[in-house]
């Protein structure tokens, strides 16, 4: 599809040389600007006409509130730079809240990532029931977005104290509650989160897995490599960037999930729930700044995760193009 695009403007050339796209882009922009000026003095440039409202919209409804919160977190009442609230938001009781969130997001990212990748690999070779692959594909697209209130209810029905599975296991002599499992514990939440994490990972990993050429495996075999050697030296390096990138996406996804945790965890020992507590109790002076600081740390975590992910995806894209 991309081969039809003329090389001077197409995205196909935008990757390999970092300096090229900007110069090519500005060249085109200048050309567009020249023709626009030559043609019309009264009619404004359509690009500007469409870009300005969009950027203004994002600035007013996304950037302004975000910047206000970050600014509130790093200054005191007098508006002087002051990091005490930022420090307070990650110390004392709040430190364990961050640890909980990081552990939950990290563990579901790793477990969900491995399971999602395994699912993608398992489905790859399947030809026989012709309906199976499209069905898995479609279901993963749906399930990756199914988090939220109804999902939490579903797991209460399955694994709550009166859950169907809880009682079925009890009938078999397995006491789930007695072994310390509860949906509001980190383990319980992790199980629920996996319901949308595994499909999300499948969506991210499937294109990379599909990019593993049959000919690479054949070439490796011809050169005398065993199965293990092929997976270790060929497949793993190709899959690694998108797998790691996918895991980071899962991490970000789990860290900011709110509704599921809200229904299941009444004690609120997670960062998003703690933000709500602080926000609702903001009549006490100074507590508002604490909420801002919690949000700021959340943004730092998410931004770091996504920046890393973007970098990894650029690496992954190299193989997809080759």
């Amino acid at each position: 599809m991309t081969t039809l695009v003329p090389p001077s403007t197409g995205p196909a050339t935008a990757g390999p040389v970092e300096g090229l796209p900007s110069s090519a882009g500005s060249g085109r922009a200048a050309a567009a600007g020249r023709s626009g000026r030559a043609r019309t003095r009264r009619r404004p440039d359509p690009v500007a006409l469409a870009t300005v409202p969009f950027l203004a919209f994002v600035a007013v409804f996304l950037l302004w509130p975000t910047v206000a919160v970050v600014a509130g977190a790093v200054t005191d009442e007098a508006g002087v730079l002051d990091a005490t609230t930022l420090v307070r938001a990650v110390s004392g009781p709040y430190r364990s809240v961050f640890t909980n969130s990081l552990v939950l997001a990290g563990s579901t990212a790793v477990v969900g990532g491995v399971l999602g990748l395994a699912l993608a690999l398992a489905v790859r070779g399947l030809r026989r029931p012709a309906w199976l692959r499209p069905a898995v594909d479609a279901w993963c697209s749906v399930a990756s977005q199914l988090g939220g209130v109804p999902l939490a209810f579903a797991f209460v029905a399955l694994l709550g104290t009166q859950g169907v599975l809880t009682k079925a296991l009890a009938a078999l002599g397995l006491d789930l509650m007695g072994s310390g499992f509860s949906l509001s514990s980190l383990t319980g939440l992790a199980v629920v989160y996996l319901y949308f994490q595994v499909p999300l990972m499948f969506l991210v990993a499937a294109p990379a897995v599909a990019g593993l050429r049959e000919s690479w495996s054949e070439a490796a075999t011809l050169m005398g490599a065993g199965r293990l050697r092929y997976w270790w030296s060929v497949a793993a390096p190709v899959l690694a960037p998108s797998t790691l990138g996918g895991m980071l996406l899962l991490f970000v996804n789990a860290f900011s999930a709110y509704a599921t945790a809200y229904v299941l965890d009444s004690s609120g020992q997670l960062v998003p729930l703690q933000i709500r507590f602080v926000l609702q109790g903001n009549v006490i002076t100074g507590e508002q700044d604490l909420g801002y600081a919690l949000v700021t740390w959340t943004l730092v975590v998410l931004l770091a995760g996504l920046a890393l992910m973007a970098a990894l995806q650029r690496r992954a894209a190299r193989w997809a193009r080759a």
Binding site: A50, P65, L119, F153, L165, Y258
Partner: protein
């Protein structure tokens, strides 16, 4: 074997939910021996008879519609321009539409309360104040769907052909761009609808009665009927998303519902 286990993990919660919702058996007796008894959809009827539900559902529907419209007004011209005239716009758009991933609802709501409440209290008191924010979170999906749709038909060539044959911009838009992006627009609608049906943090913290917040409140007062309603909402969301996936697949568009 592995596939069967995964399938079981994905099917069991809904099946358990169905038992909770539709079996007229005290919850304590919901075990293997009562698997076949007392099935009825009466609870769902009970839940559907609540006037509060319809009010919340109407709010959610209005929010979804307006969010879709706002998104299309903002993004459709940009997506077309990025494809046809200004390719340098594309990385900018891809980057900006990723921002909602960085600022999740629970973080943005704090900022919104801090900035809009003192300056424009009338704005936050209306349930419609959620529209711009829902549009914001739907942007990653909408833009990627539109972009994929435009690329798949080679919109650049088509638009240039139409223009050189003498079509005016409005005609080009109506006869060339609109048909080319119709699948993407429908897909964006489905995704936005699913998103609005599921978004809880923002609505709950700004004290708005949308479908998800209503679900939580209602389930507390009527556990069984609440389960039935939640299952119905889940099926509805799944159908909306399933429709989107089907549509995208049929048109051969390589975008997923993950929004990246």
């Amino acid at each position: 074997m592995f596939l069967a286990a995964v399938g079981l993990f994905f099917a069991l919660p809904q099946l358990a939910m169905a038992r909770f919702a539709f079996q007229n058996v005290p919850v304590v007796h919901l075990d293997l021996s009562t698997l076949g008894t007392g099935w009825s959809v009466a609870r769902l009827g009970e839940a559907l008879a609540e006037p509060g539900l319809w009010e919340a559902a109407r709010t959610s529907a209005v929010l979804a519609t307006l969010a879709v419209l706002l998104n299309l007004v903002l993004l459709l011209p940009l997506a077309v321009l990025a494809e046809v005239r200004a390719p340098w716009l594309r990385p900018v758009l891809t980057g900006v539409t990723l921002l909602p991933w960085v600022v999740p609802p629970i973080a943005l709501v704090v900022g919104v309360a801090a900035t809009f409440r003192p300056l424009a209290p009338w704005f936050l008191s209306s349930p419609l104040s959620l529209v711009p924010f829902y549009a914001l979170w739907a942007m990653p999906f909408t833009y990627r769907a539109l972009d994929a749709g435009l690329r798949a038909v080679g919109a650049r060539t088509l638009v240039e052909a139409a223009r050189s044959l003498g079509a005016s911009w409005p005609t080009t838009f109506r006869r060339v761009v609109a048909p080319a992006t119709s699948a993407s627009v429908v897909a964006a609608c489905g995704l936005t609808a699913a998103l609005v049906l599921g978004e809880f943090a923002f609505a709950s913290l700004l004290l708005k009665d949308t479908l998800p917040t209503y679900l939580v409140v209602y389930q507390r007062s009527a556990p069984q009927a609440g389960m039935a309603l939640a299952l119905a909402v889940m099926v509805l969301t799944a159908l909306a998303l399933g429709g989107v996936v089907h549509l995208l697949r049929r048109r051969g568009l390589g975008v997923t519902t993950s929004g990246i």
